[in-house]
Symmetry: C2
Subunit: 307 residues, 2 copies
């Protein structure tokens, strides 16, 4: 069983006109991550590659395509975690960086810290020769349109909810049984400047531990934080639940305790995996043993041989 | 049993010449928190009052007395959490604010977000009419001396470790059985600009849930994050362990898994409490049923009737 990559392109309400693009995007990202594993790469290499692809895809709310804050600017959060050592790296409300997930990995590998915020993260990027990109290069017409709509005082909660979703993430198990997770987001639309959500917060946006598994989360960030969703899934698994049952139990708890909706992708160290959500939709894809799995709607699970 | 306040003034190595001052400080803060409970205040009121006192006491690494970052500046993190609703508020790397713990509470109560970073947190403070203080007003001679010492290339790890500690925090149970936690810190000395530690991260620097209890943590921040220490203590308690046993088990796990040292103050909803640490010292104090408890050294537990 073993090697597997599972990615998500965000839980929430995926508008019909964006469904096909989201599906294509998660499938391409999962395949790219799996190619890394096939080439002998680590689970960390694979999740960073998969999430980099999703950040570069303007269909998703991460990297290029991020939603805009109340001022019309992009501020992004990202997290990586290595299940072997529990080493972790994160950036908070960073600007002008094409791939926050790669910067998170540099925080993990090149500093004695776990998390850097705002300008501190940008200064570190500069010291690592990570190029700063033009702010406009991360902003799509779709993001700007939604920002304008949300400025209207009587914006309906539904549009807010649609706008909320699209955080991307990945989990993987490599041939050595090492697990890793990566999560990246532009946050929620029209957020206050400096708002930090669940994504960069260890145990909330993701968690990875070789002795249990790895999780990347998406959905209503503030609810995810209140229940430390990623860590909660793994606690259920430590108590003997499967990746799928643990994911469902944690999502059900979040719904009942704080009325929060979301989704997760989960693996255990042997390669069992799950992609589960309590929202209307979540784009997700997985590759294992030359089979590509994907879905967007509740209960949808398509498979395709990729050899 | 029920109402109780437990505070810590940081786990680590408390220099002898600062031991008496730290002891006095935590005792005064615990008493101040308990007065709030006796006056009918909530557990949230009590922990914010106790931590405010510790922030205002230049003996501790929070508010005035915070350690300095690599540039010689103060950047502070803080977190509050309400065990009844799991509502939470945090600020990250905020400057020029006398009481970050009060600003965290405002984030929780006055925004739809959980956490605000750097200038975003300062802009919010301004909108709430929270005064900005002069940067120098938060800097003590002791903090500046340590900052200079740490700039020397051959600084010993011991001095670094001494400098690391001093995060403050509190947990409480009120007459209604509601629990809350609050944690505040200047972080670690000579940190990179924008470094975010465990303190503002839900589940790491603190967690509160009426169905289990509340925890505030201190110690090696990056290690605390890797094991989500506060949430871990409560998971052990969910499995039937006492506040004391759960605290010890989580600290032992952190030591064995990531070689990290730290301390916690913990309560359960009935008012059982614990102050435990794996470092050389931790200043702590508790008040319950008119008795003040306190200690700094391993195994030290002094009591005093306060009526």
């Amino acid at each position: 069983m073993l090697p597997v990559v599972v990615v998500h392109g965000g839980a929430g309400s995926v508008p019909k006109e964006r469904s096909a693009g989201a599906r294509q995007g998660v499938c391409a990202a999962a395949r790219a991550g799996y190619v890394v594993l096939q080439g002998g790469g680590s689970s960390m290499d694979a999740v960073v590659e998969a999430v980099t692809q999703l950040e570069n895809n303007s269909m998703f709310n991460a990297g290029c395509g991020s939603v805009l804050n109340i001022k019309g600017e992009v501020e992004m959060d990202a997290l990586v975690m290595d299940g072997q050592t529990l080493a972790s790296g994160a950036v908070v409300a960073v600007r002008n960086i094409a791939n926050p997930i790669q910067l998170s990995r540099l925080v993990m590998e090149k500093t004695s810290h776990v998390c850097l915020a705002t300008q501190g993260a940008n200064q570190f990027a500069e010291s690592m020769c990570v190029p700063q990109v033009q702010p406009e290069s991360l902003i799509t017409d779709y993001a700007r349109m939604r920002w304008r709509q949300n400025l209207v005082p009587d914006t309906t909660p539904v549009e807010q909810q649609v706008g909320k979703m699209g955080t991307v993430g990945a989990v993987a198990v490599d041939v050595h049984g090492n697990v890793a997770c990566a999560t990246s987001t532009g946050g929620i639309p029209n957020k206050m400047e400096g708002r930090v959500g669940d994504t960069p917060c260890i145990g909330c946006g993701g968690y990875a531990d070789n002795s249990v598994g790895a999780v990347s989360t998406t959905g209503e960030g503030e609810a995810i934080m209140k229940v430390t969703l990623a860590r909660l899934v793994l606690f259920y698994m430590e108590r003997g639940q499967s990746a799928e049952a643990g994911s469902d139990a944690a999502l059900a708890y979040m719904k009942s305790r704080v009325e929060g909706l979301g989704g997760v992708v989960t693996v255990d160290p042997r390669g069992h995996w799950a992609a589960r959500f309590s929202t209307a939709q979540m784009s997700w894809a997985a590759v294992q043993e030359d089979t590509l799995h994907c879905g967007v709607e509740v209960g949808e699970h398509l498979t395709q041989n990729i050899n």
